[in-house]
């Protein structure tokens, strides 16, 4: 059920000829209008943003058209721009980040909400919220000094030794690359998943758990099969937030991804992402076409987010029949 459609009827006739002022005196109408305006502002901002991105990228759009999406060339001097390597890098690093962060985040949230006593859970949550405040550049530096050496010396060789037959883990391991960026991103987005999921789990009514336990479920079964599905939409919402953060992250990614606009099946290879290339080259862009190419990249990322969000929502709607019964999009 998307809304609580409980409308308290008012004293007095509710006819069409009621004057606007009379309607205003009704507190509910004011509340509806006012909150509507705030909600509409969000849409307005997005529309304005898209307009700015569209208008500000006119030159490269006319010059390259659709080939911008499939070209692999990025030549600032020759003024040839193509977005494919960046799209690829953005998708791959975000996917890796989600694969790592979602189980970790949900697991931690379950622990904090279901198992840990409040005296431990609340302070721990404070600290995890702090992770969301760590500036991107600090994550980047830590990525350079800790994750890259770890990757080059321990993780990549281990992966190659065990799973090296997969094209995912082939090629030389420089330490930078898609996997490293994915790991750093995962750390950055995990607080959002934990924080929101924990709150949602905490707000699941007690009787749900008790009913499950009364029917003989183990603690885990009660949690995983009853409580978590009840909180499904909230948890999915937190994953949306995390995904969005991963897609748009700039500084930390650019310090560990290798900044090479190339497409490779191997996670150990260096790559590039949309946000990283914007952060790197935008301020030094000299010609108009070059500058606007970044605006167009911003537009491309927007489109990407649009599609990914749509797919995820579709997935949610298709699996909505089980569990909580709230099939909200």
């Amino acid at each position: 059920m998307a809304t609580s459609t409980i409308n308290v009827p008012n004293a007095g006739p509710v006819s069409g000829s009621r004057s606007f002022l009379a309607k205003l005196r009704n507190g509910d109408e004011i509340a509806r209008v006012v909150t509507f305006l705030f909600a509409a502002t969000v849409v307005l901002i997005v529309v304005l943003l898209v307009y700015q991105l569209w208008a500000g990228s006119a030159l490269p759009r006319h010059k390259f058209g659709l080939s911008f999406f499939i070209s692999k060339v990025w030549d600032p001097i020759g003024e040839e721009f193509g977005a494919l390597p960046f799209i690829y890098g953005t998708v791959v690093t975000s996917a890796v980040a989600l694969i790592l962060a979602v189980p970790l985040g949900i697991g931690a949230a379950i622990f904090l909400a279901e198992l840990a006593p409040q005296k431990i859970s609340d302070p721990l949550q404070f600290f995890i919220d702090l992770l969301a405040a760590v500036p991107s550049v600090i994550y980047g530096v830590l990525g350079v000094f800790i994750v890259i050496p770890l990757m080059r010396v321990w993780i990549a060789p281990a992966l190659k030794a065990t799973l090296g037959f997969l094209p995912l883990f082939q090629g030389p391991a420089y330490g930078v690359g898609f996997l490293t960026a994915g790991i750093v991103l995962a750390i950055m987005i995990v607080p959002y998943i934990i924080s929101v999921s924990r709150e949602v789990l905490l707000s699941v009514p007690r009787d749900q758990r008790e009913a499950a336990l009364a029917l003989g479920a183990t603690r885990w079964e009660s949690t995983w099969k009853v409580v978590v599905p009840f909180a499904r939409t909230g948890i999915m919402g937190s994953i949306f937030l995390a995904l969005a953060r991963a897609l748009g992250e700039t500084m930390a990614v650019t310090m560990v991804i290798g900044n090479t606009p190339s497409i490779s099946a191997s996670l150990l290879a260096p790559g590039y992402s949309i946000a990283a290339v914007i952060a790197n080259e935008f301020t030094e862009a000299t010609t108009e076409t070059y500058t606007q190419a970044f605006i167009e990249l911003g537009l491309v990322l927007f489109l990407l987010t649009f599609i990914l969000n749509g797919l995820a929502r579709l997935l949610m709607m298709l699996t909505a029949s089980r569990g909580s019964g709230t099939g909200r999009a």
Binding site: S4, G27, V42, I138, G237, A279, G298, N309
Partner: protein, 285 residues
């Protein structure tokens, strides 16, 4: 006997999975302590009275601080909250209590889209709207950029928590004759208050550490920024410049600034929860 061994298996799975969740939590928290440890180790020495009271000095000169950046961050975050929190909060109320499914879909989708925009692009957007027409960088432009970034997290999370309030509470209020807005203000929001506060503080923490959107809005300022219409300094921006500089002296100050930033966020978190604490309406299991 079959039942018994199945039961044993289920119990084992239960114990195992629950332990794994503990492992997850420990991992997440240890990362944080690793970061804090790094910051303390590399920047701890530079946190002193000067840091909080003096303006920055050029490289090599001791005795400088980041007083202007601390005040700058406070001003920027105040503005950002004034913009982001009302839009997110009241917008969420509309979605949860008043809107139809179509409008709700559009607004939620928009918020998610906004969340995915790289922070530097948000900065450029704010530049186009607030800096370019007036030909100067300003605190207002920076606050605007950060405020926009706060909206999606605030909106989506607040909506989730409002919707999570059981209908029984709404029905009870209605039975007592309360109008809709009164129900929202006195029953629903307080019931969801804990989650809403979490959402707002999360959004606040997110933008507190952002430097990219400030590059072309607040610009940065080595001196004090009078009023709201001049370029202004901020802690994340100082960290960005100093951490990537070739001077060890500045790099240490960057870590010190990181530590101070986290300390201030933690303080805000604690103060907010304590000052605005009321009883939690929905009991914890």
């Amino acid at each position: 006997m079959n039942m018994n061994s199945r039961l044993k298996m289920r119990k084992f799975v239960s114990a195992f999975m629950l332990t794994m969740t503990g492992v997850c939590a420990v991992t997440a928290v240890s990362v944080l302590f690793l970061i804090l440890g790094y910051l303390v180790y590399h920047g701890g020495r530079d946190i002193n009275w000067n840091f909080f009271t003096k303006l920055p000095t050029p490289v090599g000169e001791s005795g400088g601080g980041m007083a202007n950046a601390i005040v700058g961050s406070a001003k920027l975050l105040l503005l950002a909250s004034l913009i982001g929190v009302p839009i997110g909060f009241f917008g969420a109320i509309y979605l949860a209590e008043f809107s139809g499914t179509k409008m709700a879909f559009v607004v939620r989708y928009s918020a998610d889209l906004l969340n995915g925009v790289p922070s530097i692009v948000i900065g450029l957007f704010a530049f186009a709207l607030v800096v370019h027409p007036f030909h100067h960088f300003s605190t207002i432009a920076g606050g605007f950029a950060l405020g926009i970034m706060m909206i999606p997290i605030t909106l989506r999370s607040t909506e989730e928590f409002l919707l999570g309030v059981p209908n029984s509470l709404r029905e009870a209020a209605m039975a007592l004759g309360a109008s809709k807005w009164k129900t929202i203000a006195t029953v629903i929001v307080p019931a969801a208050y804990r989650g809403i506060l979490t959402a707002i503080l999360l959004a606040f923490a997110r933008v507190a550490g952002e430097a990219a959107p400030l590059l072309f809005t607040a610009l940065g300022n080595r001196y004090w920024s009078p009023g709201w219409n001049q370029p202004i300094e901020s802690l994340p921006h100082m960290i960005y410049i100093y951490a990537l500089s070739p001077y060890e002296d500045w790099q240490r100050q960057a870590w010190a600034a990181g530590l101070v930033l986290l300390g201030l966020i933690l303080a805000v978190n604690i103060v907010a929860r304590v000052i605005l604490a009321r009883g939690v309406a929905v009991p914890r299991s």
